[in-house]
Amino acid sequence: MIRVRALRKHFDVHERPPGVAAAFRSLFRRQTKRVTAVDGIDLDIAPGERVGFLGPNGAGKTTTLKVLSGLLHPTSGEVAVDGHEPRRREDAFLKKIMLVLGQKQQLLWDLPPAETFELNRAVYDVPREQYRATMRELTELLELGDLVNKPARTLSLGERMKCELAAALIHRPRLLFLDEPTIGLDVSMQAVVRDFVKRYNEQNGATLILTSHYMEDVARLCPRVVVIDRGQIVYDGALEALVERTRPDKRIVLRFAREVDARDLESLGQLVRHGAGESVLQVPKDAVNGVVGRVLAELPVSDLTVESAPLEEVMSEVFARGRGSR
């Protein structure tokens, strides 16, 4: 579906120090700085895959998505998306894809979303019958109800994002780029968006590429993650394997029937947290069974779970290692 070889993209951006004098100087002489956003990426994505792009701010995730969707022209390298060169933005290509930018909207601001849906039906040349069927399905799955008839400007952020998703899917794209689709949404709305996107992928076999700062989005949606840092891919593979590789230790979350002294726990492993009623021990993966056995035998345990390190911590460590190695 997607084949990328040696993709590079740099921008020349204006630079100006703060202050009136600098502002005045910049009227006559502009200083520019070359920023390398993507620095030699190779990538293959198969049809129907769900892939998460992870990386700190400015890592090159959105730039890569924009190159893949044809909005940005690569500085160098090869990009092929379902047999098309995205930068040419041919009709046949545009009808296969959609890019949802969480911070940019395509809904017509002063009109009800139903008008944007109808506009998209026309520009994507969707047959009426198919349009009606798609709208029925989207209305049900996203619980759109009366939202489609209220001016977009009067909708809440969550309601707007649901309508944005519906507008994006009217032509049933085979390739969906989602850039921070849950940004600013509350927890329940994030879950609605995630569930919907996953179901769309499963029912339509659509390929999905997602960027998000919410690790929960990536954990729930993407079996495969591509970690990008400073324009380069630093990891490409299964999420579990990344966690395993970065933080091989496991965490044992313990709840006690009565208070337990911290010293009793420190002898079992690294005590990450010790508070009222709950403590967290970090132990090597191989030692989990032994530690669990000892804890159950020696301490008044009321509840016990074994978890991997939180994804946020794993990613922080991956990025920190990346910075440390340069």
Binding site: M98, L101, V123
Partner: protein, 267 residues
Amino acid sequence: MSLRNTVRAFPTLLRVGFADAVAYRAEMLIWVLATTMPLVMLALWSTVAREAPVGRYGQAQFTAYFLATFVVRQITGSWVFYDINFAVRNGTLAMRLLRPVHPLWAYAAEALAAMPMRIVVSLPVAIVAWFVVGWAGMTHDPFLWAVWLVSIAGSWMITLLVNLLIGCAAFFLESSLKVMDAWLVAFFVFSGYLIPIDLFPPRLRAAVEWLPFRFQIGFPVEVVTGAHDRGAALALLAGQWAWVAAGLAATALVWRAGLRRFAAYGG
């Protein structure tokens, strides 16, 4: 982006554009009040002409001229530069670029979709004027009325293309609002909107007559008020459409260069 796709989607683009144009009723009323400058100029020049005609203009001629100016401006006006400038600056142009319809066609449809509202506003003025001043000061030649219709189309095209060009200037300038401000200063003075071109000093008039501003307003007004015979009207019509052709070429060039820059900087 194929023309076939655009043609097929055009009726929907127009319908949605019309819905957008009438979304705010209060804003529309203010807009109507804000476009009455030709009527103010009519009152002013009529007072001046009460004593004696100014050039070829007596009171009846001034009335016909400025009522025609009001109608032409209403029908051919466009402000899409503002939308383009905004879309380039905040990056929402990206969403338009993802659709299989050329964004400039979509902007043209939006401008065209506003026309029915503009006609609704200008029609009562034209009817009242017809009752009050009759045909005095207007041409009676059906051929010139036909030329007027074509010149209205040309005037609308030039105004739209100026909007597209200035909107696209945002690709290079980061904001092109001030460019439009500068254009409007020249437009108000040299288009015949405030002062008929034939009242300009001869040397200035010779230059202004071939600038695009005059073909935006003055030329259609001159045709319908009988300032030109058939031959002269046709020659000027050719001049007007030459500006349309130049505007099309310039817009295509600036759009392509601008898009490369947009794509280079990150959208």
